[in-house]
């Protein structure tokens, strides 16, 4: 079937989405053209607005369209004694869903990975240093991923905490709740063993 330049452009544009190849992009494009023009127009407007107006919170670096995100702006949390360090805005969502944590966040937007050109400056650690120097801050919770790079990042920030006299804690890693030991991989299991606690 012959297509037009505009339809080709649309299909190509959909391919920026993760996991979307030529086939899926074509399906999306034709679906909107055939059945949902209104939805398509709305998608284009919201997409445009979000790309233009969503930026980083000036304090914790998570996504927001305001200069401070809701969490940083919340009066009950602004003077919290805890800052939780995570790698991505989705990690903030995940922790918020537990409703266990009432402190502030700092979102690194990645982890230390010099081989990919990501060092301390790229993670905004100077900004974190500033935030940590507030008198109210007593504890930094390191919730980076349990990968080599996540550990390196946690360790680097722990060092910054030390020189500022702030307590640094690392989230526990190990066997998933409801899991069975025989199905756990060796590396996870040895981490769980080395991080065991008195009961």
């Amino acid at each position: 079937m012959k297509t037009t330049p505009l339809i080709n452009q649309l299909v190509d544009a959909f391919k920026v989405l993760p996991g979307v190849g030529n086939k899926s992009a074509q399906r999306m494009a034709y679906h909107l053209l055939e059945r949902n023009r209104e939805g398509g127009i709305q998608l284009s407007q919201v997409l445009h607005d979000a790309m233009q107006h969503v930026k980083h919170c000036s304090q914790c670096r998570t996504f927001t369209e305001a200069s401070l995100c809701d969490i940083c702006a919340s009066p009950t949390r602004a003077d919290s004694a805890q800052i939780c360090i995570v790698e991505s805005p989705q990690d903030v969502l995940a922790i918020e869903q537990t409703a266990e944590y009432k402190g502030l966040y700092f979102v690194l937007m990645g982890h230390l990975s010099p081989i990919d050109g990501v060092g301390p400056a790229e993670l905004g650690l100077d900004k974190l240093n500033e935030l940590m120097s507030k008198d109210t801050v007593k504890e930094v919770i390191l919730a980076t991923n349990p990968t080599v790079e996540g550990e390196a990042t946690a360790h680097y920030i722990a060092q910054m905490c030390k020189s500022q006299g702030v307590r640094a804690t690392r989230i526990a890693h190990g066997v998933p709740v409801g899991g069975e030991l025989e199905y756990i991989d060796g590396n996870t299991l040895s981490r769980a063993l080395s991080g065991r606690l008195d009961v």
Binding site: P18, G19, P114, G119, V148, Y156, T188
Partner: protein, 235 residues
């Protein structure tokens, strides 16, 4: 099918659920491979496919980019932390940048593994880890054919204790006057004998920087930034 022993130098996300890997292998050198479906929640290969752990990998395919089949750990994970972890990351960045693909260098590989093992016994101080880094850099430079002879100068004359020498890319060590860029003969001899003290460490570092510079181009190694806090507090 190729069965290799190696470590992950670098991994990055690829498509929805895969990783692109650069592996450093004992018998095959640096190899690139795709690990498909590894990032999904139920795959336990993602815990293995991380830097520094010695693995046995099965690779498939005839192209430069292989497909990764099964993976097994040959050693427990290196649980390196702090400066030694940053140093290990530095080695990986260095190897990833300068090692050509698919050129076997089993000696260098064994040297790399032995350094990782030695890191576990050391303290987090630059004085302890830097000699290991320099020795590895020199081994790497020799492997690539960029390491000059540190016993004699460009005219084949044995170095003199009180002599001064400049490094020339083509000729090796060239006798010179005492200046900012020259190396003291005695320091070079200590470096050659791997006898580490403040002067030989300083000399080795300058040598290594100069020798690596043409291989690294205008993009310095990023991992060096991680050492900065240790420089101000420990040395």
């Amino acid at each position: 099918m190729l069965r290799v022993e190696g470590v992950v130098l670098h991994r990055r996300a690829y498509r929805e659920t895969s990783f692109l890997l650069d592996l450093f292998c004992r018998e095959s050198g640096k190899i690139s491979a795709v690990a498909k479906g590894v990032r999904s929640a139920k795959s336990d290969r993602k815990s293995l496919l991380q830097p520094f752990q010695l693995l046995e990998c099965h690779l498939y395919g005839r192209h430069e980019l292989k497909n990764l089949g099964s993976v097994d750990a040959l050693q427990p994970a290196m649980q390196l932390q702090g400066l030694r972890l940053y140093c290990a990351m530095y080695l990986n960045e260095l190897l990833n940048r300068v090692l050509p693909k698919e050129e076997p260098c089993p000696q260098l590989f064994n040297h790399y593994l032995s350094i990782l093992q030695q890191f576990r016994q050391l303290d987090d101080s630059l004085n302890e880890v830097e000699p290991l880094l320099r020795e590895f850099e020199f081994a790497l430079l020799s492997e690539l054919g960029y390491m000059p002879d540190l016993c004699e100068d460009s005219h084949g004359e044995v170095l003199r204790h009180d002599g001064h020498y400049m490094l020339s890319a083509d000729e090796g060590l060239v006798a010179s006057a005492d200046n900012q860029r020259s190396f003291r003969g005695e320091a070079l001899m200590l470096v050659n004998a791997r006898q580490w003290g403040p002067e030989s460490m300083q000399c080795a570092k300058r040598l290594s920087r100069q020798l690596l510079a043409p291989l690294l181009g205008d993009k310095p190694l990023k991992s060096r930034e991680l050492f900065a806090p240790f420089r101000t507090s420990n040395s």
